[in-house]
């Protein structure tokens, strides 16, 4: 079956430092990967949509300078949170679409705590 793994599951970083998280698709080809953030007490916000061999599209309020993304092949994507601050806390999900319904398979998420 189709699975999405994310690493690490939890991480803590000091304010002003950077943190890289990874997303791996197993059992299917992730031609596109969407990165979301769920801040405390909030819903999921789309950060960016990355498609292999195409430009990464960032949503309003998110930039490549802050959240650089790499999507080198059909099974792997990574995103870095640069200069993390308190407002960057939350659960970061990566999702890759399945067939048909435009449904996304989500990984378990990377929970970022910023001290």
């Amino acid at each position: 079956g189709a699975l999405v793994y994310q690493y690490p599951r939890r991480t803590i970083c000091k304010s002003g430092t950077s943190m890289r998280m990874e997303c791996q698709a197993v059992g299917f080809q992730a031609t596109s990967v969407a990165w979301y953030r769920q801040s405390p007490q909030k819903t999921f916000e789309l950060i960016a949509l990355s498609t292999v061999n195409s430009a990464i599209k960032y949503e309003q309020n998110f930039t490549q300078e802050k959240f650089p993304i790499s999507h080198p092949n059909l099974s792997f994507s990574s995103m870095t949170v640069l200069n993390a601050y308190l407002e960057d806390r939350g659960l970061y999900l990566c999702g890759a679409p399945g067939q048909g319904y435009a449904e996304q398979f989500f990984g378990p998420g990377t929970r970022l705590t910023v001290l």
């Binding site: 979301y36 999921f44 659960l91 449904e103 989500f106 998420g109």
Partner: protein
Amino acid sequence: GDSVTQTEGLVTLTKGLPVMLNCTYQTTYSPFLFWYVQHLNEAPKLLLKSSTDNKRTEHQGFYATLHKSSSSFHLQKSSVQLSDSALYFCALSHGSSGNKLIFGIGTLLSVKP
């Protein structure tokens, strides 16, 4: 632009009672609607999905019908259980959105004994 509205932030019910969580959406495209459930400290998991007008879809006792005429996809269950306590998110996608989901704000369902 596209949007999803969930009117209830918190729904508290006694075990065994029926529940309906509201979800309405706005889009100019042909929609795909989803319900995701998120238990404490976990990632969201897909509960239901539909793109077919007026067809009921069911899973794990939950059901929903996409009504394009009213732009709604309300989630229902006839008898809630303690284990149903979780956050429920309604989400929208469409073929032109590039495989991205637009989430509603979420409804916390709390089931009491």
